[in-house]
């Protein structure tokens, strides 16, 4: 599946009026609840991480999950709680059960990271085309 980068208009640098990002539509399900999200594919993230609001919408008791401290580029620790969910790229028939983290300490919607999302897919970033291609691993 191919997706165009999501573009965010920006005033930071007039020479670059848009910030393109590899953001894709996904469906996250827990038991009978589901939510649709735009999630950023982040090759630098060791695990997939979602804002805790997403867990609350799925009726997940956030703090009942496996607690883990994470560190990022800033060096500041954040606490996430990991729960199993079903993740589906919108438009794909494939559904994956992944253990993902939820945290309130994140200003973003969702990061799709290495340990689970990248483990299941071949992902080709074409920044110069502002396009990303994702194939399930078993199609290799």
């Amino acid at each position: 599946m191919k997706f165009d980068y999501v573009k965010q208009e920006s005033s930071i640098n007039p020479a670059r009026p848009f910030i393109p990002r590899p953001i894709i539509p996904i469906r996250l399900r827990h038991q009978t609840m589901f939510v649709l999200l735009f999630a950023l594919i982040d090759s630098g993230a060791d695990a997939s991480l979602f804002h805790a609001d997403v867990a609350r919408d799925l009726l997940i008791d956030v703090e009942s999950g496996r607690r883990q401290q994470l560190f990022g580029a800033s060096g500041h620790p954040l606490t996430a709680y990991f729960h199993p969910v079903d993740l589906q790229i919108i438009g794909s028939p494939e559904v994956m059960t992944l253990e993902v983290g939820f945290t309130d300490d994140m200003p973003l919607t969702a990061l799709l990271g290495q340990a689970d999302f990248f483990e299941h897919h071949k992902i080709t970033f074409e920044r110069y085309k502002e396009r990303i291609e994702i194939k399930p691993r078993q199609q290799q």
Partner: protein, 62 residues
């Protein structure tokens, strides 16, 4: 999908709900649940949610 600078300034750090063929913003709020409530009230049962980043470059790996 493209987020305009006006949308970014209006909704930065808020949750928004997108729906329809042109991915219009049909709800917003401080929480996903607030954005969902507004979207559902307008008749959009399955919007796609996104927390709008500010007009800044960021290093997402937190």
């Amino acid at each position: 999908m493209t987020l305009t600078l006006e949308q970014v300034k209006t909704y930065q750090n808020k949750w928004v709900a997108f729906a329809g063929p042109d991915q219009a913003i049909v709800g917003s709020g401080k929480t996903l649940q607030e954005a969902k409530q507004e979207a559902v009230t307008k008749g959009y049962a399955e919007p796609i949610f996104f927390k709008v980043p500010p007009d800044a470059y960021f290093i997402p790996s937190l």
